[in-house]
Amino acid sequence: MSIADTLNNPYTKWMEGKGPYASIVISSRVRLARNLTDYPFPHLQDEETGRKILELGRKAVMSQEMEAQVGKMDFVEMEALSPLDRLFLVEKHLISPQLAAEEGPPRGLALSEDEAVSIMFNEEDHLRLQVIYPALQLEEAWELASKVDDILENSLDFAFDEQYGYLSCCPTNVGTGLRSSVMMHLPALAMTRMANKLFMELSKLGFVVRGMYGEGTEARGNLFQISNQITLGPSEEEIIANLAQVSRQVIEQEEMAREKMRKEGLAQLEDMVFRSYGILSNAYIISSEEAMAHLSNVRLGVDLGLLRDVQLQKLNELLVETRPAYIRKIAGKDIDAFNRDFKRAEIIRKSLAKI
């Protein structure tokens, strides 16, 4: 699949809805920050240097070795994409908002055919390599990221220091350059008000909890993203293992909270799930916020076996299909807020009815 196909299809690999703990963990992501020795970092670059970085990056990514060992990659300069298409890639979680920004140095994107690997050029660092997988598959994602990193290293001179490790633009990324994160659906913890307490504990252990769309976003639809804060000191394997372990503990807590809800209020739970299902299947106008809240309830219903005919993959796809950029893409750019809510309701109705 080329990047042109990517831009026409809301579905991407992390939405698969299969794999370990897929009912609670939506996706696992690892990201590596890498820079080239001595070249100025993007925020200090002139145009020419920026172009040079893109050219070096493009060559490294399009190598035969990459194709043989990882698969075919496609490369595109961000300038060639419309602002709307860039936003759509952000909504698909394939690139960061900073790479999509209209202002900034020359930037580029390389994407693997299955969209699991994306390499961002000239974001905050010269390279940001991301692997995103469905469900709890941090180790697998790290393995692939490390393999891609090894291949890139054959043709790119990555800045590395014996003491500080991989050198990054911001000191918060130095060392391993590794930020790993898991996206979890935690409705029972949120509803029983245990979530905040748990997150306070996690932050003491060096983990950061955020909303679905990263820094500064709230946790809509009970979706939380947990990631490691420290990048220097522990090894990559330790960082990954720690996050995986913490994730499993959070899953366990969520399962306990769900069991408690089921025991103490099955009728209310069923009412909540089917009411939300009813609204999503029948509404003609729905805001993003309302849709996210009901989708969370429906997802919980699916996990608990109350709703048997809805697939997790469908619900994962709706996470992106109900976002503004996708709706604008399929409805035409100048759609106003009212018509967006109308279109959103239509998308959800159709998606749930197809089953």
Binding site: F160, D161, Q163, K204, G233, P234
Partner: protein, 168 residues
Amino acid sequence: MFCQECQQRPATVHFTQIINNKKTELHLCSECARKHQELAFTFNFEPTFSINKFFAGLLDSPLFQVQPVSAPECPNCLLNLRRFAETGRFGCSRCYRSFGDSLTPLFRRVQGTTQHTGKVPKRAGGKLSIKREIEKLKAELHQAVQEEAYEKAAELRDRIRALEDKLQ
């Protein structure tokens, strides 16, 4: 107990932070604590926390002693340490060496440690990965000796020697 910052007023505000199992404690008077309010202690909880203010705060603190006049400059990208502290971003990979030891307290604060132990690029790290391997084997050797697994220990000792020869 007196305030660690001004050494004048009694310390009434106590911060504890644990990163990487390393505990950092800070005891301040209420006045100095106010100046520190943008520091690490709200790091994990406050979504509007600004990383730039955090670095600027560090620079002004006696914990991070830098004189603006003598602020080192990176010969490669010409970024100086003061500018770095304002933006929280390095200019190029060489800045790390150019700013040298001034960075140690910063990394202690942000990362808890100052030593990378993870992956090493193959190209840059032929010797380094051998050193790491030796360290790993030495730890295993120690373990083997403690467990009185002498056969394994002897084997590990030989492997360490072979690697040390390679380093020569």
